[in-house]
């Protein structure tokens, strides 16, 4: 970054964290914020299409989906929900510490977030493993142990588990990406990079993304795990 800034002598200040195309930090930060929110709009549309599919199929096959959803482990989903909610809190704290420019505060909060994200993935792994063990993964062997279907029509239950694996899988992928991004941010803080230490906005951007990932789960959990009896 510093290299780019020195490549172009514009005489518009020599802030290390300022990219050459911007006039000042305020413009740069505003652009980052608008850019991140625009990106989150695309993410909302991305998951929005899947929620639309979910809504349509659930309204078509209410009873079968209710029966099929009983195969899910509500305790595990609940644990994951609280793990993610707590990680949202720690990310918010990390942003606060970034505003106060407290390096170790930021790093410790992000480290806890990473632990939470890792815990989420581990729980998810055991959940997936259980479903595979019960032959609840869609495909040729689906429902070969009908006792796990709880009486749901196999075809409609297959649609349910298709969406379950598709949506939670994509969400899990977002968690993984979040872990990589948070790791990158931590490395930047560790090395006192001016990109993150000069201003809290980059930390805030990562925080926004993480809150979005949490938010998707906040919708996924009740929709997938907590269906009322129709």
């Amino acid at each position: 970054m510093a290299a780019i800034a020195s490549d172009h002598g514009h005489g518009h200040g020599h802030d290390e964290a300022l990219h050459h195309q911007f006039e000042n930090m305020e413009q740069q930060n505003d652009s980052y914020i608008v850019g991140m929110w625009t990106f989150l709009v695309t993410e909302v549309m991305f998951f929005g299409a899947l929620f639309l599919i979910y809504t349509l199929y659930r309204s078509m096959y209410q009873m079968d989906w209710y029966l099929a959803h009983e195969a899910l482990n509500v305790q595990m989903g609940m644990v994951n929900t609280f793990v993610l909610l707590f990680s949202s809190f720690t990310v918010a704290m990390a942003v606060r510490y970034a505003q106060l420019q407290k390096k170790w505060g930021v790093l410790s909060m992000l480290a806890i977030t990473q632990v939470c994200a890792g815990a989420f993935m581990v729980v998810k792994y055991f959940e997936y493993q259980e479903k595979f063990g019960h032959h609840l993964y869609p495909g040729p062997g689906f429902g070969s142990h009908p006792e796990y279907l709880h009486g749901a029509t196999p075809n409609f239950a297959q649609l349910y588990f298709g969406l379950y694996f598709g949506m939670t899988g994509l969400h899990g992928l977002h968690v993984l990406v979040g872990m990589i991004v948070i790791g990158y941010l931590m490395a930047k803080w560790w090395r006192n990079s001016p990109m993150v230490t000069k201003d809290y906005i980059p930390t805030e951007l990562v925080g926004l993304y993480w809150h979005f990932v949490d938010l998707v789960w906040i919708f996924l959990f009740p929709l997938m795990y907590l269906m009322p009896k129709p």
Binding site: I4, H8, H10, H19, H20, Q21, E23, Q27, D30, S31, V34, G35, T38, F39, V41, T42, E43, M45, F46, F47, G48, A49, L50, L52, I53, L56, Y57, M60, Y61, Y137, P138, G139, P140, N155, F156, Q158, L159, G162, L163, F165, G166, L170
Partner: protein, 578 residues
């Protein structure tokens, strides 16, 4: 402005390789191109790659036309024909039309027009080109390695269950190219919001910027939806996740809803930037402020908004309920209003303008006619009753080619000629370019007008023979003939534009005498666009009618347009030098 003076001493200097640095000669290494963050260089990278994909898509088009010359077909088997028209559609839609004007002209012009040094996110911009190339490579890989035969629409269950071709690989390519589109859209939106020079208020923005902004909005709202929809097909084919499987109770029509939720607005991704180019050309060659500036700006946004509410008109015969059909038909009629506002305003701009019939203007005038035909025939198809007769015939093929080729490609060529001196610092040969613009118009109409007639008579689209109705043959022969003319008229600019890179006369900063910030920096612009960030004090398109009229009279008296005389002289002096 910075036109080269006719003083012999100075001319001698200017004929030697130029010493000033600009974005093109700042660094010659390949690395400096492949790792550039400069929006102008990224635009050139896009220009080269998109031209290549356009060439491939055109070959597929040529094969389709050649095959249809005879009622029973004579070079392609049915299966190959399916792969060829799928290749034509996929390449032209995803690798040419969606990218051409936004990523080439838009990338190049947006920061210049608003007085910024670069896009808000230059590295994201470069990433977008790489994603585009990776996506393009996947698509081409799938096509070379056996092809794909599901058409560019990938309707399920054919694409998810029955197609044995490389659907997965091509869809992966489209998915990746979609993210290239999204990153470009985000860049447009943030740049327009946050990078405008001091004094560049929203209503001083050139209409091209308004159009690109509206395009950005459509991209970020639509593209993620089609991305996840196509991902669902990949899920179904690779991971057996049954999202649209009808045999399990899934809904294949839901796929069509989600697909057209993007793919209808996608035609606005293709045509909105073309509207922007068109507004620039009309204003600068009629030498007049665009009539109804605000209405054109808002109509771009209106199209972006209404465009998301009309997708159902692609599904009138796909088991959509009658009431849905009525509503979608009504809203489709509404979306014609902002388009008509634009056409009427451009026409009104011409009234009492000092029209200069140069190449870009010929394309622009052609655009008005062709787009009007394309738009009005769209109403036939948005109307429930007529659509039942016309859907899936060549009528619809002709309709969207009038909009996409007659509209978007014509505007792209016009814009490319108009900004060519700014992009390359060279002038293209005006007379041949003019004749070529006329040739595009003739070739285009000869290709696609007969398709309206043969489609109305009942020729179905996507059929590779019509031995059941040999009376269609004359129309198909006319169409094939026209496509040959059209192909020629695309090859000629490729040749003379390439030649002008080395042989063309050097362009001054503002060879057209046009108004706009991009003409106030040198041609080609320096890497940082402006030596100093401009402060905008003038209104946009601030042509003074009286001055324009006097200039026009003076130019007619001299028989050499005054704004060209410097260019002509410098070109002559260069010829003498050789």
């Amino acid at each position: 402005m910075s036109a080269i003076p006719a003083d012999p001493n100075v001319t001698a200097v200017s004929a030697t390789p130029r010493t000033e640095t600009n974005y093109l000669n700042a660094d010659w290494s390949i690395k400096s191109w492949l790792l550039t963050g400069d929006h102008k260089r990224i635009a050139i990278l896009y220009l080269v790659s998109v031209s290549f994909f356009f060439f491939l898509g055109s070959i597929a088009a040529g094969l389709i036309r050649y095959e249809l010359t005879a009622p029973a077909g004579f070079i392609l088997e049915s299966e190959t024909y399916n792969k060829v028209f799928s290749a034509h559609g996929i390449i032209m839609v995803f690798l040419f039309l969606i990218v051409a004007i936004p990523a080439i002209l838009g990338n190049f012009l947006l920061p210049l027009m608003i007085g910024a040094r670069d896009m808000a996110f230059p590295r994201l911009n470069l990433l977008s080109w790489y994603l585009f190339m990776i996506g393009g490579a996947c698509i081409m890989g799938g096509m070379i390695n056996g092809g794909v035969d599901s058409g560019w629409t990938f309707y399920v269950p054919y694409s998810s269950m029955y197609a044995n071709s490389n659907v997965t690989m091509v869809l992966t390519g489209i998915f990746i190219a979609g993210f290239s589109s999204i990153t470009t859209g985000i860049n447009f939106i943030v740049t327009t919001h946050k990078m405008r020079a001091p004094g560049m208020t929203w209503f001083r923005l050139p209409l091209m910027v308004w159009a690109l902004y509206a395009t950005g909005v459509v991209i970020i709202l639509g593209t993620p939806v089609v991305a996840v929809t196509l991902l669902c097909i990949i899920f179904e084919r690779v991971f057996h996740l049954p999202i649209f499987s009808a045999e399990l109770g899934g809904d294949p029509v839901l796929f069509q809803h989600l697909f057209w939720f993007y793919s209808h607005p996608a035609v606005y991704i293709m045509i909105l930037p073309a509207f922007g180019v068109q507004s620039e050309l009309i204003a600068n060659f009629a030498r007049k402020r665009v009539f109804g500036y605000h209405l054109i700006a808002f109509s771009s946004l209106a199209i972006a908004g209404l465009g998301f509410l009309v997708w159902g008109h692609h599904m009138f015969i796909s088991s959509e309920s009658m009431y849905q059909g009525v509503v979608f038909s009504l809203i489709s009629f509404l979306v014609a209003i902002p388009s008509a506002i634009k056409v009427f305003n451009w026409t009104a701009t011409l009234y009492k303008g000092n029209i200069r019939l140069q190449t870009p203007m010929i394309y622009a005038l052609g655009f008005i006619g062709l787009f009007t035909i394309g738009g009005l025939t769209g109403l036939f198809l948005g109307c429930l009753g007529t659509d039942v007769h016309l859907t899936n015939t060549y009528f619809i093929v002709a309709h969207f080619h009038y909009v996409m080729v007659g509209g978007a490609v014509t505007a792209f060529l016009g814009g490319l000629h108009y900004w060519w001196p700014k992009m390359t610092g060279r002038l293209y040969p005006e007379s041949i370019a003019k004749w070529n613009a006329v040739l595009v118009f003739i070739g285009f109409n000869l290709t696609f007008f007969p398709q309206f007639i043969v489609g109305f008579m009942g020729m179905p689209r996507r059929y590779h023979y019509y031995y059941f109705a040999p009376e269609f043959q004359p129309y198909h022969i006319m169409s094939t003939l026209g496509s040959s003319v059209l192909a020629l008229s695309f090859i000629i600019p490729g040749l003379y534009l390439t030649r002008s890179l080395s042989k063309g006369a050097k362009a001054s900063a503002n060879p057209w005498g046009a108004h706009g910030l991009e003409w106030e920096t040198s041609s080609p612009p320096p890497t940082s666009n402006f030596d100093q960030i401009p402060v905008v004090l003038d209104e946009v398109y601030d042509f003074d009618p009286v001055t324009e009229h006097e200039q026009d009279k003076a130019a007619q008296a001299l028989e050499v347009p005054s704004y060209l005389s410097n260019e002509a002289k410098s070109a002559e002096s260069e010829k003498e030098k050789r």
